[in-house]
Amino acid sequence: MTIDAKLKAPEAFSEGVQSQDPRKWKRTVTIIATVVLLVAAFLYGLSTGAVSIPVKTIWEVLIHREPSTDDQIIWNFRLPRTLLAMVVGSSLAISGAFMQGVMRNPLADPGIIGVSAGAGLMAVIIMLIFPEMIYLVPAAAFVGAWVAVMITYSLAWKKGASPLRIILAGVAVNALAGAVTSGIMQLYSDRVQAVLPWLSGGLAGVSWYHLQMVLPYFAVALLLSVFGIRHANVLLLGDEAAKLLGHPTEKSRLFLISISTLLAGIAVSVSGLIGFVGLVVPHMVRLIVGNNYAYLLPVSALGGAALVVFADTAARSWFDPLELPVGILLAVVGAPFFLYLLRRGGVFSGRA
C-alpha cells in the first residue's frame, strides 16, 4: 500500500465526523425499553397481592390520597416495598457491573470480594447470639460487608492490588467467614429457623423505615457511580494502557470497589443475601449495549430494579398464602436462563 505524501493537520478535521456507530439505535431503544419495563414492574408491584388493585385506582391513590383500604395497602405496604425492591435491584446491578469491570472478569459479583460473606456473618451473629438486638441487623450487615472487603483488599495489597490477587484474597475471606457462619449456626441450631429467610434474601416486612435508612446512602452511591463511569471505562483498556494515558489505575480500582461495596452493602442490609442479580443483570445488558459504562451502567440499574420488583412481586403473590424469599425465586428462574445464554454462546465467547 502506498502512503499519502502529506499528513493533514488536526485543524483540518475541526468539522468532525458523524459517527456511524450501528449500536446507537440499539442503545437508545434499549434505554427506552428498560424505562418502560421498570414502569410496568412498578405498576405490577403496586397492583398485585392478596387484594388486586387496578392500575386506574393506583393512579388515583398515589395522586389524591383518599382514605380507603386501597390507599392503606398501597401507601403502607406495597409502595415502600416496591421502592425498596427498586433500590436493591439497581444497587446490586450497578455493584456487579463495576465489579466485573474492576476484576476484568465476567463472573465477578460483589460476593467475590467478601461482601455477602462478611454481611452474612455479622447478621448471623446478631440474629443468633444477640437476638434481642435484632434491629441492628441492617447496620451490622452493612459493617460486615465493609470489614470483609477491607480485609480482602489489604490481604491482596502488595505494591498495588491486581485483580487476580484481590480475587484470590476474596476466596480466602469468603471461606473463613463462611466457616465461622456455619459454626455459629451449628452452635445455635435451635434458633437457626430465624436466619434462613435472611440468608436466602427477601424483602418481607420492609417498611418506610428501611427505605429512609438506606436512601441517603443510595443517593450518594448513585452520584459516585456517575463519576465512576469514566474510571471504569479507562480500566477496560487494561492497566498498562490506562497508565500510559496518565490514569491512576490503583486509585480508580479502589474507588470503584468502594462504590461497589457501598451499593452491595445497601442491598444486603435491607434484603439479606440476594445473589444472581449482580452477576447476571450487567452481564445480559453487556450483550445488548456493549461494554461502554455510559450505557452499561444506567441500563443495568434500570434493568436490575425492574427485575427485582417483578421477582419480589411474583415471590409474594404466586404462592399465596406462602411467601417465598425473592432470592430463591431469582435463583430458580435465573440460573437456567443464565445457562441458556451460556449455551447460546456470547456470554463466555469473549464478548464480555
Binding site: P10, V17, L244, L245, G246, H247, P248
Partner: protein, 262 residues
C-alpha cells in the same frame, strides 16, 4: 536539547535479569531503534521510560522534568507508547478506542471538546483507518488493530512515541506500513520515535540512531553504519554475518551461529 533522557537507570527484574546503569537520550525529531537479543532488557527499558515501571535507581527526564514527580496526565500529553501486547477489546469501535487518546487532555467535567473530536479524526486519518472507524476491534485483522492502537497513541499528540516491537506478528506489507507511518510522523511533525525492533535490517532502514542492548546494558549506540559491524553481531547476537549495502542502508545477511556458543 534531549526531549527524553534516562540517567543511570537500574532495575532488577529478578536475580538474573535487570537493567544495569543505563543512560541514554533522544533528541526531538530523532528516530531511534533499540535492538538486542531476547532478554537483553529492551522492553524493560522502554517501560521504565514510559513510567510503566519504576526504576530502583536513576531517573527519566521528559522535556527537562523528572517523570517520577510529573503528574500522570502531564506525562501522557508528551509521551505515549504502543505496548507489545494489547488487551482483547471486543465490541469497542476504532473511534471509541482512538478517543481514549484524548483522556489526558480532558476531564470529567469538560467532556469531549471540539478539539478532541478534531484530533481523534486526524489520528484516524493519519493511520488510514477512516473506512474502519465504526468497526468493532474484534472484526479487524492484526495489522488493522495495530494501526488502531497507534491511532490512539497519536490522539495523545505526543512529542515522543515509544513502540515495543510494533511489527511483530504483522505481515511484511503491514510491517512496512507501520514503519512508513513512523517516518511520516517523524518527518512531518518532528515526532521523536523510539522503537524496539527485532528485524535489524528494518531498524537500519528506519532509524537515525541504533542502541544495542546486551545483558541489561547499552553496549553500542550510534548511526546504523557505525553500530552494525561483524564484531558487534558476534559478541552481542552470537551470530556471524555478512554486511552489505542496500540503498545507502547497511544490510545484514546472517551466515551462522557463532562458533563456541552451542
Amino acid at each position: 536539547m534531549a526531549v527524553l533522557s534516562a540517567e543511570q537507570l537500574c532495575f532488577d527484574m529478578s536475580q538474573h535479569f535487570g537493567i544495569k546503569d543505563v543512560s541514554l537520550y533522544a533528541e526531538q525529531g530523532e528516530r531511534i531503534s533499540i535492538i538486542g537479543p531476547n532478554g537483553s532488557g529492551k522492553s524493560t527499558l522502554l517501560k521504565l521510560m514510559a513510567r510503566l515501571l519504576k526504576p530502583h535507581q536513576g531517573l527519566v527526564m521528559l522535556d527537562g522534568k523528572d517523570i517520577a514527580v510529573m503528574k500522570g496526565r502531564e506525562t501522557a500529553k508528551a509521551l505515549s507508547m504502543l505496548t507489545q501486547i494489547q488487551p482483547q477489546l471486543t465490541d469497542m469501535t476504532v473511534r471509541d478506542l482512538v478517543q481514549y487518546g484524548r483522556h489526558p487532555h480532558s476531564s470529567m467535567l469538560s467532556g469531549t471538546s471540539r478539539e478532541d473530536r478534531a484530533v481523534t479524526e486526524w489520528a484516524i486519518s493519519a493511520t488510514r483507518m477512516e473506512t474502519l472507524a465504526d468497526r468493532p476491534l474484534e472484526s479487524l485483522s492484526g495489522g488493522e488493530r495495530q494501526r488502531a492502537w497507534i491511532a490512539m497513541a497519536l490522539a495523545q499528540q505526543p512529542k515522543v512515541l515509544l513502540l515495543d516491537e510494533p511489527t511483530t506478528y504483522l505481515d511484511i506489507a503491514n510491517q512496512l506500513e507501520v514503519l512508513e507511518l513512523m517516518n511520516q510522523l517523524n518527518g512531518q511533525m518532528n515526532m521523536t520515535i523510539v522503537m524496539v525492533l527485532h528485524d535489524i535490517n528494518q531498524a537500519a532502514q528506519y532509524s537515525d540512531r541504533m542502541i544495542v542492548m546486551h545483558d541489561g546494558s547499552v553496549v553500542h549506540h550510534g548511526p546504523p553504519r557505525d553500530v552494525m559491524t561483524p564484531d558487534m553481531f558476534e559478541s552481542v547476537f552470537r551470530i556471524r554475518v555478512r554486511i552489505h549495502q542496500e540503498e545507502a542502508y547497511p544490510y545484514i545477511f546472517p551466515l551462522a551461529v557463532a562458533a563456541g556458543t552451542l
